[in-house]
């Protein structure tokens, strides 16, 4: 049976007509979820319109990476997260720590460890995390070395990495004194004296570290300032430069991967 064509709807006054469907899924009122998403998009758009940050994000995150990229390539990020963990736990330890050599420093560390809620845990994270960070830095460095990822054009990034390694060791050295127990004190005496064995400038270097000819009243606060202000600032700045160069230059393929010849090239060679 043939279909009877529908007659067009009779013209209604506009007040009685249904409003035309809105674009989007709900075709009308926004659901709570959709509204939230919409608000998020609005905020991100607002920021992006004024900063163009989305371009930078795309530049950093959506890079081309070589074939064969594997778990070894996560060592740099692991080091970064070890540093972030040190930074966060360090900031909160600084809320309780007192760099007072006449007994207050040791007492405040004892207080953190024994009395403060989760103090032992946060201090433990900072203490053991420092070793983790040093190990990760070395493993990351070994990965870079054995994969040949330090070669042209990435030499500068290797140099920055070596400076970061040295700064990490400085952090370890200065942080070791802060609990101010016997071990910390004598380790620092030995470490400063080892610095002093450098010819000509060595004696002055150890004077600089101690803030005088003997381990004195300002040595602890000097180490504390270096540990929590000077070196972290340098590390953050250099990590920024390090990551910029990684993004700019890209990562290397693992050395066991042979370069593939492009088809048209091999044809022209024949």
């Amino acid at each position: 049976m043939p279909k009877i064509p529908k007659l067009p709807a009779p013209p209604l006054p506009s007040a009685l007509r249904e409003p035309p469907p809105r674009p989007g899924e709900g075709n009308g009122k926004l659901g709570a979820l959709e509204g939230a998403r919409d608000a998020g998009i609005t905020v991100v758009d607002w920021v992006d319109e004024r900063t163009s940050l989305s371009g930078a994000t795309r530049w950093i995150l959506f890079r081309k990476i070589p074939k064969g990229t594997n778990w070894f390539y996560t060592l740099g990020s692991a080091t970064l997260f070890a540093f972030l963990s040190q930074a966060v736990t360090g900031v909160f330890l600084a809320m309780f720590y007192r760099p007072d050599p006449a007994g207050g420093a040791y007492e405040s560390v004892r207080h953190i460890t024994n009395d403060v809620f989760l103090g032992q845990f946060v201090r433990g994270m900072h203490k053991w995390g420092s070793s983790v960070m040093v190990i990760l830095v070395f493993v990351h460095m070994a990965r870079t070395f054995f994969f040949g990822a330090y070669k042209y054009p990435r030499e500068l990034n290797w140099v920055i990495g070596v400076v970061l390694l040295i700064l990490t060791m400085v952090m370890g050295f200065t942080g070791y004194l802060l609990p101010f127990d016997q071990r910390a004190y004598w380790a620092t005496i030995v470490g400063v004296n080892i610095n002093g064995t450098g010819p000509l400038i060595g004696p002055y270097l150890s004077d600089f570290l101690r803030g005088g000819g003997e381990f004195g009243a300002t040595t602890l606060s000097r180490f504390y300032a270096i540990h929590m202000l000077l070196v972290p600032g340098l590390i953050v700045a250099l990590i920024g430069a390090h990551l910029y160069l990684v993004t700019k230059l890209g990562t290397t393929a693992p050395p066991w991967l042979k370069a593939e010849k492009r088809a048209e090239l091999s044809e022209s060679e024949v």
């Binding site: 050599p101 006449a102 007994g103 101010f180 004190y185 004598w186 005496i189 030995v190 400063v192 004296n193 080892i194 002093g196 064995t197 010819p199 000509l200 060595g202 004696p203 002055y204 150890s206 004077d207 600089f208 101690r210 803030g211 005088g212 000819g213 003997e214 381990f215 004195g216 009243a217 300002t218 602890l220």
Partner: protein
């Protein structure tokens, strides 16, 4: 080659004749403003960098005051054996500022070093000349022995074994009102020669005394 070089304009006159420049102007206003801005920036940066740096490295040049420290009556020290005394070397930091010295009476039979003549007491610093751990006088062995890396010294504080690079430091001594008093130490190189105190592990014989100069913070 020589021609091309001759044709090149000096970089100091490159902006001569730019729009707005006066005829024959050598130092344009643009160059002047650039120089002024750079100069002002440099002055501002120096104004806070130099004082901060000086503040940080100032202690290197500050000489320390020496105080004679009383360590006990004359009767507490013998001629043939060391008595450990603990006294404050660096005030203001509690236990950390204390140090140990081993003291005995001057004994003409042992102390034949001409420099020692006239000194009433021999006071040997417990700071090991290797990297500064505290040495201990072991009576049975008649040796100073360091717990950290095995430095061994004889009765006079001269190295007889292990990694130390020079004898143990000593303190000057004097007797004041029957109290034995010490003053911060001096170093020597095993020969009859005395130096202002050096940090440990800095050899002082041969070229060492020039490689490890004396510092303003530690004078005799």
């Amino acid at each position: 080659m020589a021609d091309r070089r001759a044709k090149q304009k000096s970089k100091y006159t490159l902006d001569r004749g730019i729009p707005g420049a006066f005829e024959g102007e050598t130092v344009t206003r643009r160059r002047f403003m650039t120089g002024t801005a750079h100069g002002a920036g440099a002055v501002a940066a120096t104004a806070f960098t130099l004082p901060a740096l000086g503040f940080a490295i100032g202690p290197i040049f500050k000489s320390t005051e020496h105080h004679w420290e009383s360590v006990g009556p004359e009767s507490s020290f013998s001629e043939n054996n060391y008595t450990p005394v603990v006294f404050t070397l660096t005030p203001g930091i509690g236990e950390a500022g204390k140090t140990t010295a081993y003291v005995r009476k001057f004994n003409p039979a042992i102390d034949t070093d001409p420099y020692d003549h006239g000194t009433p007491y021999i006071a040997i610093s417990s700071r090991c000349a290797h990297v500064g751990c505290p040495v201990r006088w072991v009576d049975a062995a008649e040796r100073f022995i360091c717990p950290c890396h095995g430095g061994v010294y004889d009765l006079l504080g001269r190295r007889v074994g292990g990694p130390p690079v020079r004898p143990l430091d000593r303190f000057y001594t004097r007797v004041s009102g029957e109290q034995v008093e010490l003053v911060p130490p001096f170093s020597d190189n095993g020969h009859p020669r005395r130096f202002s105190p050096r940090d440990p592990d800095e050899p002082l014989d041969g070229v060492g005394q020039y490689l490890y100069p004396s510092r303003p913070t530690a004078q005799k």
